[in-house]
């Protein structure tokens, strides 16, 4: 019942493209292997906003992202996406997720990998080549698209993962340590890509222990209550 009411409430701030997307977590709790990592977590991220999840190792950053991605059930509380629209079946379906692994097959070429995720993500067959070229260009991998993925360096692999965010549109980006093994130049480029995504009305939830180069962003710190309060 509650989410319904809120949706109406926020419906007043709808833009002309429709209602404003908003990810709302209430009293969220997460546990791993029976150990409670966090509980009573509440936050909301609206379109155009970024939420940084920080905290020490093992504080549950990855767990929180996997709960949002629908890969783990929350131990308590609820998670809603307001104004999700008909296009996406669930929060997970409306999200891009970059985990610790790159989700690319070493035996396939960079282009074959991206082409697969693009088609699997529901992009039509037309205009494909162009958009993959654009995505590769945006992450600085243009020209080596026909190399097997296994030939790439760790940083290049990570950038290929970032290119995956661009080949199919998803409003919500869930990024788990996205800048690991990126050099400073790539980090800056990635910062620009994230700002563009936010400018387009996208949402970002990123777990990181490094500062991401985002303009305005909110931050929640997991595992902090023991130290702070």
């Amino acid at each position: 019942m509650r989410p319904c009411g809120e949706m109406i409430l926020h419906g007043r701030g709808a833009r002309k493209s429709g209602l404003l997307m908003r990810l709302v977590a209430e009293n969220l709790g997460g546990e791993r292997n029976g150990e409670v990592l966090f509980s009573g977590l509440g936050f909301s991220v609206a379109a155009g906003e970024a939420l940084l999840v920080t905290g020490l190792n093992g504080s549950g950053k990855s767990t929180l992202l996997r709960i949002i991605a629908g890969l783990l059930p929350p131990s308590e509380g609820s998670l809603q996406m307001e104004a999700l629209g008909d296009e996406y079946g669930s929060i997970a379906d409306a999200a891009h997720y970059i985990g610790h692994l790159n989700a690319m097959k070493p035996a396939l070429t960079l282009r074959e990998n991206l082409e697969f995720w693009r088609q699997f993500g529901g992009a039509g067959p037309g205009r494909g080549r162009r958009s993959i070229d654009d995505a590769l260009d945006a992450v600085g991998l243009a020209g080596i698209d026909d190399l097997p993925f296994s030939y790439l360096s760790a940083g290049q692999k990570r950038r290929a993962s970032i290119a995956r965010l661009l080949v199919v549109h998803r409003p919500l980006w869930l990024l788990d340590e996205p800048t690991s093994s990126l050099d400073s130049q790539s980090e800056q480029r990635f910062g620009q890509l994230m700002r563009d995504h936010l400018g387009d009305g996208g949402l970002i939830v990123a777990a990181t222990h490094l500062p991401l180069q985002l303009g305005k962003s909110r931050e929640i710190r997991l595992g902090a209550e023991q130290h702070a309060s």
């Binding site: 791993r32 991605a69 890969l71 783990l72 996406y88 997970a92 379906d93 989700a103 074959e112 697969f116």
Partner: protein, 220 residues
């Protein structure tokens, strides 16, 4: 979905060569039989159909444990599960079909040749190959459940085989009895063959649904 099929077929054919290993295992198993039972051609002809079924069954179990594990190891599995626009059981079904196409279909194609080695009659060879063609998908679908359950285990291969083998017994029973039905005038071919087809269709539905449930539960 076609993209997933194409990707898995491509992966199966490229580096690693799961298809070749399975066929080779099949050949080797059949080559061992005459040494075990003696090179009596009449005896070989009589047990040929059953031996082909056992060989194909064991060979088709070989690569099954990697069905989901390979995707889990590189993180693809998370994204496959997340894509709610495709029903997860359908995704699993497509993966099973791709696996069957690359790793099991070559076994079916090799079966007539091995039938000659077992001194079987042309009619018996044809019947056995047909039952393999219809029956082996069921093994893959059952195997997918085992593969999904054992996906998080580092050495799941043997465990998958142990879990699956008892479940495949019905497939084996009706496959072999249909193959014998074609050879022997006193036994019928069609009834067991139709039951075999029904088993395959049944597991084509149940297998992916059960595996999808197991995969959702396995995420951590």
């Amino acid at each position: 979905m076609m993209a997933l099929f194409v990707r898995d077929v491509r992966l199966g054919l490229r580096a690693g060569g799961g298809a070749l290993v399975a066929v080779l295992f099949f050949l080797a198993v059949i080559a061992i039989v005459p040494f075990a039972v003696g090179p009596d051609l009449k005896l070989l002809a009589r047990i040929g159909g059953a031996m082909l079924w056992i060989g194909a069954l064991l060979a088709s179990l070989l690569g099954l444990d990697r069905l989901f594990q390979a995707d889990r190891d590189d993180g693809s599995l998370d994204l496959l599960i997340m894509a709610d626009r495709h029903l997860l059981p359908v995704t699993v079904l497509v993966k099973c079909l791709a696996h069957w196409f690359v790793s099991v279909l070559p076994l079916v194609l090799a079966a007539p040749l091995l039938g000659l080695f077992m001194n079987m009659e042309p009619k018996a060879i044809g019947a056995t190959t047909l039952t393999l063609l219809v029956g082996t998908p069921a093994i893959t679908f059952i195997g997918a459940v085992g593969a999904a359950v054992a996906v998080a285990l580092p050495r799941g291969g043997l465990l998958v085989s142990i879990i699956i083998l008892p479940l495949t017994i019905p497939v084996l029973i009706f496959g072999v009895s249909a193959a014998y039905g074609a050879m022997d005038a006193s036994a019928a071919f069609l009834p067991p063959f139709l039951i075999l087809a029904a088993i395959t269709l049944f597991f084509a539905v149940l297998g992916p649904i059960a595996s999808a449930a197991a995969l959702r539960g396995s995420a951590d």
